[in-house]
């Protein structure tokens, strides 16, 4: 008798669990789908914006380097040094990895270096929208 009622009790608990798990599985699939869709949408826009900005600085930097590299005066050398530093910062900056630990900090360094380069080149910094926009939000949820 005791053994039987234990079995019955187990049975009820198991059913309780089973129904919960059944709903959970279905919900998990739906939640995963929604999460992937939402996450991917936000990620794509963030990634596109950041990559566009960094790539812009890089293109700007390598072009000026090409244009100035045959000049040997002190002013040009100073400019080239700053340009090389900007290019170097960008090259070692894994901007395609959203979970890179110091993404935001490194991005700020790149922006600051770009502003410095612009001032050395006598180029008005505000010709680019990027510099004004500042931080582009978080890289994770």
């Amino acid at each position: 008798m005791t053994r039987n009622s234990e079995d019955l009790f187990d049975c009820i608990l198991m059913a309780d669990d089973r129904f919960h798990v059944e709903g959970y599985r279905e919900g998990f699939d739906e939640g995963t789908r929604q999460g992937m869709t939402d996450g991917r949408k936000h990620g794509a826009l963030h990634g596109a914006k950041l990559s566009m900005e960094v790539s812009f600085y890089y293109g700007f930097g390598i072009t000026w380097k090409c244009l100035l590299q045959n000049n040997t005066d002190a002013k040009a050398r100073k400019r080239l040094k700053a340009l090389e530093s900007l290019i170097g910062l960008i090259q070692k900056f894994p901007h395609e990895d959203p979970q890179f630990e110091t993404l935001q900090e490194d991005m700020e360094k790149v922006r600051a270096k770009f502003r410095q380069v612009c001032s050395l080149l006598n180029v008005p910094t505000d010709f680019s929208d990027y510099v004004k926009s500042g931080g582009s939000g978080g890289m994770s949820f």
Partner: protein, 222 residues
Amino acid sequence: MSWVKSVQYSGEDVFDEDADDINLQDKEWKFNMQKRVKDGYVDGIDHGKEASLQLGFNMGYREGAARTTAVGRLKGIISAIQCWCQLQRPDNPTPASVADLLQRVIKHEHSIMEAIRTTFENPIPTASNVSETMEDLSVREEENCCGDGGCSKDSACCKKDCDKEISPMLMQKPNLSTALPIDPVTIPGENVDQLVQCCMDLVYELGLPQELIQHLHQLKSA
């Protein structure tokens, strides 16, 4: 006590006066179990979202980043050329061809962002309608695998791709990876290659260093 056992085991309502009670208990049981299913569903949605949001973000981030590298760099190159022209020849106006090309690149940049926005707005198709679409369109795969197009979504080489992109947690749904469009973003108007070519012409026209041509070559799609 044998009658007690028989009642318990047969599960039949041998006593009529208990019938209502049993019905009531039955209803209550059903109600409770339905509630359990619902609770489970809600918990499942939360956990599913939690588990996949960052994963989806990372995936989208890389896709988005890959699409704007070339145009961003090209814009940087042309902007630099424009600044250089202004500083070198302050008396002459910047050549119209430079300003014009920069405008075209900016326009292209906007089209890419718009295309990304609309493409990713649409939810990822479900497994079943992906396999249908794949068959309908005989979707071409990445060049490193299934190049002949004769490979189904179940074949080993596509599975390998899933392993790369999706964490083990999602392996129960490998179709999520096949659901990712390979290159669905069609951008109206000019393509980057055309703009890069125009920029090369400009470099020759203005007599700028040859090294720039090499940098521009890298932007052309392979």
